[in-house]
């Protein structure tokens, strides 16, 4: 528990990211219909409601949120948690690229996805590299 990163800037990032994922995931699990109708986005534009699938996706959001939340208090777990979240976000971004290229998503979807889907995935990859380097430096210094 002598990790020097505790309470640092990384904890702020992990905490905010954890809350976002947990809130979204728990909302999906608790009330899929409410989430589908009330999320300030165009979920109905992507297809009809499927409560079961919304809960399925809610599971992964919740798990990512839990991993990130644990990592706020367990700095040694941060790289693992960040790689877990990054894997999910990058895989999701690739699905959007594939579905946009084959026309399943409308042409204007690129514009809407630019920041929340592709931007977030890129930011997470950059953060993973930075954290991995930082961990590496710390190990060498230890």
């Amino acid at each position: 528990m002598a990790d020097s990163n505790r309470g640092g800037a990384w904890a702020v990032i992990f905490a905010l990211f954890a809350v976002g994922n947990l809130a979204n995931g728990l909302w999906m699990l608790a009330s899929p219909v409410h989430w589908y109708i009330n999320l300030p986005a165009n979920v109905p534009g992507t297809g009809p409601i499927n409560e079961h699938f919304i809960r399925d996706i809610g599971c992964i959001f919740t798990l990512v949120g839990v991993a990130l939340a644990v990592a706020v208090f367990r700095p040694r777990f941060r790289l693992t948690a960040l790689l877990f979240a990054t894997g999910f976000y990058v895989a999701h971004a690739l699905v959007h690229v594939y579905d946009s290229l084959r026309g399943l998503l409308p042409p204007e979807q690129w514009r809407f996805d630019l920041l929340p889907v592709y931007g977030a995935a890129i930011v997470l990859v950059v953060l993973s590299v930075l954290l991995a380097r930082s961990e590496n430096d710390r190990r060498r210094g230890a």
Binding site: A15, G20, G45, I49
Partner: protein
Amino acid sequence: MKSTLRYLSATVVGAFLFVAPFAWYGAGAVHAHGAAGHMDHGPRHGGHLLMVRGHHVELVEQRGQVELYLSDGSRRPVRPRSCAVTLPGGERASCRWESYRLVVSHSGAFAHAHYELEAKGAEVLRFKFP
């Protein structure tokens, strides 16, 4: 100073990542997609889609009942305030709300049944089964 900047940057990055999961389906895209929603007249549940006063109404007859999916111009599900279904002989069928659809039950056939739904703003939608 350096530490303050680091925390500030972390907060900005964290805030961005906080919002990201909620914006996956296009935050603020509702209006932009609104027009597309109005042009989207495809049934999504294998039934008959009608446009009634700017609302999408999809009727699916199966298992001796009718499932009615009511949504607004952007295909957001709408829960009607009231529902009345009258069969050609003057008989009434019962309606019940199940999660995000209206289920209409009756022992007989639904052909030519008349529907009357009260949507938001006391708007009354009248249509008949195709």
